[in-house]
Subunit: 255 residues, 2 copies
């Protein structure tokens, strides 16, 4: 049984709390929040202590800090030293920010979380880093208790994963928004795109994104690309995005 204290009550923290509570080999001994109100919203069990002071963290094996990036150093410094490994869940913050403590690392679940959405946790990749072998072992035990996909990464690799995640989650979602917004403005119901978007992703189960590429830029069909760029004259930002991505596709396949 591995004992965990969780620091935070936000999006990622609330999903982690659920995952830890559901895991057979994990005991969520405490959750820290700035107010009892926020802690009460988490639907914890009575066996988990709700604490609002960092020095109330009970004896445990792992402390997981899951708060906004810019608060991690400050909160870590305020946590009393103890026989636990201190970790954070931030993609782009090096573990050294936790080096007030002897044993520290990263426990980074690579997923997009919404408070309202139910999710399965067991296929979410958990990326681990630790400054000691014994610390890493404990993190591995914790990660494997909630997921089948556990990966050991350096700080630099985790930062690359986070960057890539921003590309395929945030930037990709924005492109979908821009496309839907465009349809909206032309009195076309945006759900027309949904089957295509799904198939675009399903295809990647069978082939690499490199092989899956189709479309005018892939074929170097400049007449369609030019026609589209003309249509986009009223929305110069989107026009520039379309132009750049098309040029990048053409370069990838035709040079």
């Amino acid at each position: 049984m591995i004992r965990v204290s969780l620091i935070g009550t936000g999006n990622v923290a609330s999903h982690l709390a659920k995952a830890f509570l559901d895991a057979r080999d994990v005991e969520l001994v405490a959750v820290y929040g700035r107010s009892l109100e926020k802690l009460d919203a988490l639907e914890l069990r009575t066996s988990t202590r709700k604490i609002t002071q960092l020095d109330e963290i009970p004896e445990c094996d792992v402390v997981v800090i899951s708060i906004s990036d810019d608060k991690i150093a400050e909160v870590s410094a305020a946590i009393p030293r103890g026989n636990y490994i201190i970790t954070h869940t931030a993609g782009s913050i090096p573990c050294e920010v936790l080096d007030d403590h002897d044993v520290y690392g990263s426990f980074y679940p690579l997923q997009t979380f919404s408070k309202s959405l139910e999710m399965r946790y067991d296929n979410i990749p958990i990326c681990l880093t630790a400054n000691t072998q014994s610390g890493l072992k404990q993190l591995e035990q914790l990660a494997r208790a909630i997921s089948k996909d556990v990966r050991l990464l350096t700080d630099e690799q985790r930062a690359q994963v986070h960057l890539s995640a921003v590309l395929v989650n945030n930037l990709l979602n924005h492109i979908i928004y821009l496309a839907e917004d465009r349809l909206d403005q032309n009195d076309i119901k945006a759900d027309i795109l949904h089957p295509l978007i799904k198939q675009t992703i399903i295809k990647l189960e069978d082939m690499s994104a490199y092989d899956a590429q189709t479309g005018p830029a892939r074929r170097d069909d400049m007449s369609v690309v030019t026609r589209h760029l003309e249509k986009l004259q009223g929305t110069p930002d989107l026009q520039e995005i379309y132009k750049l991505l098309s040029a990048s596709i053409t370069k990838t396949y035709n040079t």
Copy 2:
């Protein structure tokens, strides 16, 4: 029973042939290809004639031209006039390209097709345009025989749909490629991104892309954006794409 002749043996044509063959109320009377070899690869039934001359098109209700954009006008002109409506399956080509014929229109299935992938056709949106009411009725009958999602669009609307489809299929796929390529170059297995990509899309069943947006640019967290842009210095194309899309996100939510 609606009788169809299909012109073409490529990607889209081969999927349409399958869909027409599987539809109860459709009779695929003929398929035209430039060679018998290509026609033989389609796995047609004996009831469908394989023709290699356009003047061999038998009596039918709808002719569907599914070939590359730049050949449509030429092929249409070579098709004898008859008691059928002539259509093409191109997203960005106006129907007037078929106006050698009295009754013409567009039969545009909005999906990404790969020859090797099995697909369900009944939820693929079929976009229809026609220059006469009776022509439109026949197209509707044909479209409803293979799909539950049939939409009547103008040429201009179809062109907007095609443009949006390029955004959410081609450009989106390329972003995934760029992200995976980046991981590859940092010795990280690219499949780490798959659960995230899937969840990004699943989320859109419950909320709009506008509401689903998260990430540093959404929060106007310039420290992460700047850190990522620094990391991307070695790949200026991707750096520019990241910068533009992030600026567009920030503009969408923070002005």
